[in-house]
C-alpha cells in the first residue's frame, strides 16, 4: 500500500521535493502520514504543517484520525493570501 503526497509552496520548500510516496499499513491514518513526513524531513516541515490545508483525493481533511487507502493522494497546501 502506498500514499502519494504532493507538496506545494512552503511545504515544497521545506521538503525540497514536489511529491513522494510513503508506505502504508492497513491501519495507517492521516496522522501517521504526517508523522512520516516529519520524520523524513525534520523540523522545517514540522513548522509548516500546522498551517497547511490537507486535501485527500481533493477533499479537505478535518479528522486526521481517518484511515488511508492505497492509491490515495494527499495534497499539502500552505495557505497564502497575497494579492
Amino acid at each position: 500500500m502506498v500514499l502519494n503526497v504532493r507538496y506545494f509552496a512552503g511545504a515544497k520548500a521545506a521538503t525540497g521535493i514536489g511529491d513522494e510516496d510513503f508506505p502504508l499499513h492497513p491501519e495507517s491514518t492521516v496522522d501517521d502520514a504526517l508523522r512520516m513526513i516529519t520524520e523524513r524531513h525534520g523540523s522545517a516541515v514540522a513548522r509548516v504543517l500546522p498551517a497547511c490545508s490537507l486535501l485527500l483525493d481533493g477533499i479537505a481533511v478535518h479528522d486526521k484520525g481517518i484511515r488511508l487507502a492505497s492509491g490515495q493522494q494527499l495534497d499539502v497546501l500552505p495557505p497564502f493570501a497575497g494579492g
Binding site: R6, F8, A9, K12, G18, S43, A46, R47, P50, A51, S53, L55, D57, G58, I59, A60, H62, D75, L77, P78, P79, F80, A81, G82, G83
Partner: protein, 386 residues
C-alpha cells in the same frame, strides 16, 4: 463541467465597438454573441493592487461593460513594482481613482463604479448584489473569507487568485455548481504563521501571471466557453515554470454558511507590531512539547482570561492575562533569567503580548502559534476545546 453563460447578450454592438473588438469577434467561440455578453457583464474587482491591476486592465480591454472597483487605499511608491494600473504621478492618490483613470484610458466604453470603502460584513452583500461576477485580489485572509461567504450567500460565482514570492494559485469558486474557498482552506492559518507579501515579498510579474488566469476564467464564465477552474486549483511556480492542477471537491463535512461573521476575529487578525513580533518568534505546539520533555528551563505564560484557563490549560503554564502585560503591570512577575513562552487560545493575543514583551526588553520571548487550540489538536487531543 460546462457551465451556461453567466450573462445574457447586450442588444447590439456599435460600429465603434465592432472595430475595437474585431479580434474577439472573429474567434468563432467568442464571436458577436460572446462580445455582447461581455458588454452586458457587470464584474466587481475587490482590490486594485497586485492582482487587481492586470485584472482591471484586461477586463477593460476585453470590453466588460461595467467594472466595479472596491479599494480604500492610496498609491504608495512600494506598489509600483507590480501594481501596473498606477504610475509615478499617482503616488499619494486614492487607488480607486487612479484605477478609474487607467481603465478609462484603456477603454472609454467601460462604465466604472467606485466603491471606496473597506469591505466588511456590514456592506459586502450590498456591494456584491449588483454584479454578475466577483474577482478576489485582496491581500489578507479575513477579506478572503468574507468575499467567499458573501458570494456563497448570494449564489454568485467568483474568481480567486493569490500570490506569494514566486508562487501563485487561482481557482473559480461557485457553491451552487461546485466547491468554494472553504472547501480548499476550511480554516484560516494561525495568526503570525503565514507571512504577507509585505513581509515576505512577491515577484512583481507574478501578478500578471495569476491576474491573466483570473481574467481568462472571468471571460469564460461570462461567455460560457471552455472548461473553467471550478473544482480545480491552479498552482503556478515561477521558478520552476510549472503549472500543476489540484482537484478540489465539495467538503461533505463543511459547516453551512448562513450569515456573515466577524472575520477579523475568525482569522485572529493582529496589529502590525504583533505580526512583526511573531515573525521569527513563533514556535509550534510540538516544539513546545519538545522543550517541556527536554526539561528546558523556561516559563510558560498563558495570557488568556481566568475563565478560559479553567476550561483547558497546558500543563505547567501560569496565567497572566494579556491586558496585565500590555499595561506593564505584570512585567515584574516575569523572570529575567529564563526565557518566556507565551500562549493564548489561537495565537492572536499572545502575539500582541509578545510585541509588548519584546519592547520591554524580553528579547528572547516567543509565542506558540495556534495557541492552546493547536496544542489540543496536535499534542493532546484528549483536552477539551472551546
Amino acid at each position: 463541467m460546462p457551465l451556461p453563460p453567466l450573462v445574457e447578450p447586450a442588444a447590439e454592438l456599435t460600429k465603434e465597438e465592432v472595430a475595437r473588438y474585431s479580434r474577439h469577434l472573429i474567434i468563432p467561440d467568442v464571436g458577436v454573441d460572446g462580445q455582447k455578453r461581455l458588454k452586458n457583464a457587470k464584474v466587481l474587482v475587490v482590490g486594485a493592487g497586485g492582482l487587481g491591476s492586470p485584472a482591471l486592465l484586461y477586463l477593460a480591454a476585453a470590453g466588460v461593460g461595467t467594472l466595479g472597483i472596491v479599494e480604500f487605499d492610496v498609491v504608495d511608491e512600494s506598489n509600483l513594482q507590480r501594481q501596473v494600473l498606477h504610475g509615478q504621478s499617482d503616488v499619494g492618490r486614492p487607488k480607486a481613482e487612479s484605477a478609474r483613470d487607467a481603465v478609462a484610458e484603456i477603454n472609454p466604453f467601460v462604465k466604472v463604479n467606485l466603491h471606496q470603502l473597506r469591505l466588511d460584513s456590514s456592506n459586502a452583500l450590498d456591494v456584491f448584489a449588483d454584479y454578475d461576477l466577483i474577482l478576489d485580489g485582496t491581500d489578507n485572509f479575513a477579506t478572503r473569507y468574507l468575499v467567499n461567504d458573501a458570494a456563497v450567500l448570494l449564489g454568485k460565482p467568483y474568481v480567486w487568485g493569490s500570490i506569494f514570492r514566486f508562487e501563485g494559485q487561482a481557482s473559480v469558486f461557485w457553491a451552487e455548481h461546485g466547491p468554494q474557498y472553504r472547501d480548499l482552506y476550511p480554516e484560516p492559518p494561525p495568526p503570525g504563521m503565514v507571512p504577507s507579501c509585505a513581509e515576505g515579498g512577491v515577484l512583481g510579474v507574478l501578478c500578471a501571471s495569476i491576474g491573466s488566469i483570473m481574467v481568462t476564467e472571468a471571460i469564460k464564465l461570462i461567455t460560457g466557453i471552455g472548461e473553467t477552474l471550478l473544482g480545480r486549483l491552479m498552482v503556478y511556480d515561477a521558478l520552476e515554470m510549472t503549472y500543476r492542477t489540484i482537484k478540489i471537491r465539495k467538503d461533505p463535512n463543511a459547516d453551512k454558511i448562513t450569515e456573515l461573521i466577524d472575520y477579523e476575529a475568525f482569522c485572529g487578525v493582529v496589529s502590525d507590531d504583533a505580526r512583526s513580533a511573531a515573525a521569527g518568534h513563533t514556535i509550534t505546539p510540538l516544539e513546545l512539547k519538545q522543550k517541556i520533555d527536554a526539561g528546558e528551563n523556561f516559563v510558560l505564560v498563558d495570557v488568556r482570561e481566568p475563565h478560559e484557563y479553567e476550561i483547558v490549560k497546558i500543563p505547567g503554564s501560569v496565567l497572566i492575562p494579556k491586558d496585565k502585560i500590555l499595561s506593564g503591570e505584570a512585567l515584574s512577575e516575569l523572570p529575567q533569567d529564563r526565557p518566556v513562552v507565551l500562549h493564548c487560545k489561537s495565537g492572536a493575543r499572545s502575539a500582541e503580548a509578545l510585541a509588548a514583551l519584546h519592547q520591554a526588553g524580553f528579547r528572547d520571548a516567543v509565542h506558540v502559534g495556534g495557541g492552546v487550540l493547536a496544542w489540543a489538536r496536535e499534542v493532546d487531543p484528549s483536552l477539551p476545546t472551546y
